[in-house]
Amino acid sequence: MLLVLEQCLNGLQFGLLLFLLAAGLTLVFGIMDLVNLAHGSLYMVGAYFAATFTAWTGSFIVGALLALGATLIVGMAVEVIAMRRLYGRDHLDHVLGTFGLILFFNELVRIIWGPAGMSLQLPGWLNAWIEILPDLEYPTYRIAIIVTALVVALFLYLMVMRTRLGMLIRAGASNREMTGALGININLLYTIVFGLGAALAALAGLMQAPIQTVQIGMGENILILAFVVIIIGGIGSIRGAFIAAILVGLIDTLGRAFLPDLMRLFMSSRGASQVAPALSSMLIYLLMAIVLVVRPAGLFPVSNK
C-alpha cells in the first residue's frame, strides 16, 4: 500500500514538472498559434544557466532566480528576432523553423559550455529526506518540486483569471484579430507571453537539473511528452494542461512501476521483463491516440474563433 502511495507521489512530481513545461507551450500555441519545437531548447538553456550561476554564486536559490531572469531575456530576444516572422504562417513553417532553432541552440550550447554537460549540486538541506508517514520516507527535494510547481500553477491561474494581463491573454487566445483591433499592443503582449513561456520552461529545466543532469539535447525527449500533454489537455487551455500533465505523469510512473509485475501474472518472468518495458514506453502514446480518436480537440478545448 505504501509502495502505491510512494509511486503516486513520484507520478505527481513528474506530472507537475511536465505541467510547467507544457503550460508555456500551450500558452504560446493558444495565443500566437505558434508551434514552438525550440521550447525544449529554452528548458535546456534554463538548466545550463542555473548550473553556471549556482557555481558562481554558491547558492542554489540565487542561481535559480538568476537563471529564470536570464532565460526570460533570451526568450524575449528569440521572439523578437525569429518568432515574429513566423506568426500567421503554416504550422509546417513553424515546425521547420523552430527545428532549425533546436539545431542552432544545441551547437551554441556546445560551443559555450562544451560537450560534456554540467552538474548542479543541491544544498545539504534539500539533499535529505522527510518521513511523511511511518515507514514512508520521501526525498525532500521532490517534495520541494511538488510544492513549487503547485504554487506556480496557482499563480498562473490567478494571473490568467484575475489580472488584466490574464484577461488580455484569454482574449488573445479566443480572438486574436479582435484583440488587436481593440488597440492592444499585440506585439508587446506576444513578447511578454513568449518570455513567460520561456521562464516556465527554464523553471522546469532547472528544477529537474539537480536530480538528472544538464546535457545538450536534454529538451528533445521531454518536449515530445509536453506536446502529448497539451494535445490531451487541449491546446490553449492551462487547466487542460494541468489535468493532462498529472494524468500522464501518473500513468507513466505507475505503468513503469507495476506493469512488469502485472505482466508476470500472465506470462513467464523472462517474457514479462521483455514485454513490459516496451509496453510501458508505449502507454502514453496509446493514451494520446485514444484521446485524439475520441475527443479530437483534447479534453478541455478552448472554445475558438
Binding site: 515546425v95 523553423g97 539545431l103 544545441n106 551547437e107 515530445i224 502529448v228 485524439l292
Partner: protein, 332 residues
C-alpha cells in the same frame, strides 16, 4: 520549345545525367564509395518523393513517415533471418506490411488536422520504434545484420553494385513519374484542394477523407519499398531508422528541395546528403589559410550551427525550396 530551356530544367536534367553516370565515374576512378553514397541518396530521394505526395501536395505533415522505411527493411531482415532470402517473398511482404500499417495509421490520424495530425503520426512512430526495440529475437536495439541481399533466382543479381544502383535509379524515376501523374490527375487535384480548403472540397461533394487515406497508403507503400532497398543496401536494419528525427530528415529534404514539385525531393536529398559529406572538409579547406589545423578541425565539427539558421532562412524566405529558387532565378 524555349519554355523547356529554363534554369531549373537544365539543373534537373544535369542532375539526372550526373546520377546516370555515377557508376561509370566510380569505376574509372576506382572510388567505390561514391557508388555507396549515391545509392543511398537515390533510395532516400525515393522515400522523400513518396512523402512529397502527402506533405507537399496533400499538406499532411507526417512525422512518422520514416516508419515505413523500417517496415520495409524489417520485412526483408526478418524473413532473411528466418531463412527466406527470396526477394519474391520479401519485397511483396515489405509492400504489404507498409500498406497495412499506413492504412491503420491513416484511418485513425486523418480524422485530425494541423498539429494534432503531426502529433498523432509522431505517436504512432514512437509506438513502432519502441515495439521494434522490444523485438529481442531480431536484435532489438542492436539491430539486425542482413547477410545476403534479396535473391531473385538468377533473374537479377543485387550483389552487383552497378546493377543494384541502376535498379534503384529506375525505381526512383518511376516513383517521380508516378507521383507526378497522381498529383496532376483528378485524384491529385482533390488532395491539393483538400489542403487549401477541406470544407469547400467536401461541400462540392468529394469524400476527402477517403482520398487522403488512399494517398497516405500509397505514400507509405512506396516508402516501404524504399525501406526494402535500403536494407539491401546497408545490409543492416535497426529501430533507429524509425525514430521521429529520421522522419524529420525526410521532411527537411522535401522542404529544402521544394514541396509540391516533382523533382524537389530529389534535389533536397542530393543537397542534404552531399552537404553532410562535403561541408566539414569544405570548411576545413576554407579555414586552412586563416587558422591552424586543430582550430579548423574544431570549427568543421561545429558545422551544424550553420544548418539550423539555414533552415529558418529557407522557411522564411525561400518558401519553394531550392526548386523554387531555381525557378525564380530562371525567370529573371
Amino acid at each position: 520549345m524555349t519554355a523547356w530551356f529554363t534554369l531549373r530544367n537544365v539543373v534537373v536534367a544535369g542532375l539526372l545525367i550526373v546520377l546516370a553516370l555515377v557508376p561509370v565515374y566510380a569505376s574509372v576512378t576506382g572510388n567505390a564509395f561514391l557508388m555507396t553514397l549515391f545509392t543511398r541518396i537515390v533510395i532516400l530521394a525515393m522515400a522523400a518523393t513518396s512523402l512529397n505526395l502527402i506533405l507537399g501536395y496533400g499538406g499532411m505533415v507526417s512525422f512518422g513517415h520514416a516508419v515505413y522505411l523500417g517496415f520495409g527493411g524489417y520485412a526483408v531482415g526478418i524473413l532473411a533471418q528466418e531463412g527466406m532470402a527470396s526477394g519474391f517473398l520479401q519485397w511483396p511482404m515489405a509492400l504489404a506490411a507498409s500498406a497495412l500499417f499506413a492504412l491503420i495509421v491513416g484511418a485513425l490520424s486523418l480524422r485530425t488536422r494541423g498539429v494534432y495530425f503531426i502529433m498523432i503520426t509522431l505517436a504512432f512512430a514512437q509506438l513502432a520504434y519502441y515495439f521494434a526495440v522490444g523485438l529481442e529475437r531480431y536484435g532489438g536495439d542492436d539491430g539486425l545484420t542482413i547477410q545476403r541481399r534479396s535473391q531473385f533466382a538468377g533473374l537479377i543479381n543485387l550483389s552487383n553494385r552497378t546493377v543494384f544502383y541502376y535498379l534503384c535509379l529506375l525505381l526512383l524515376v518511376g516513383t517521380i513519374y508516378l507521383v507526378w501523374r497522381l498529383a496532376n490527375s483528378r485524384f491529385g487535384l482533390v488532395i491539393q484542394g483538400s489542403r487549401s480548403n477541406d470544407r469547400r472540397m467536401q461541400a462540392i461533394g468529394f469524400p476527402t477523407y477517403r482520398y487522403r487515406l488512399v494517398s497516405f497508403v500509397i505514400a507509405g507503400t512506396i516508402c516501404g519499398f524504399a525501406g526494402a532497398l535500403l536494407a539491401n543496401h546497408t545490409g543492416f536494419i535497426s529501430p533507429a531508422i524509425m525514430h521521429w528525427t529520421r522522419s524529420g530528415d525526410l521532411i527537411v529534404m522535401v522542404v529544402l528541395g521544394g514541396m509540391a514539385s516533382s523533382f524537389g525531393p530529389l534535389i533536397g536529398a542530393v543537397a542534404l546528403l552531399v552537404l553532410e559529406e562535403t561541408l566539414p572538409p569544405l570548411i576545413r579547406l576554407i579555414a586552412f589559410p586563416f587558422v591552424e589545423q586543430p582550430v579548423a578541425l574544431k570549427i568543421s565539427e561545429y558545422w551544424q550551427i550553420v544548418l539550423g539558421p539555414l533552415f529558418l532562412l529557407v522557411v522564411l524566405f525561400a518558401r519553394g525550396g531550392i526548386n523554387g529558387l531555381l525557378k525564380a532565378v530562371g525567370r529573371d
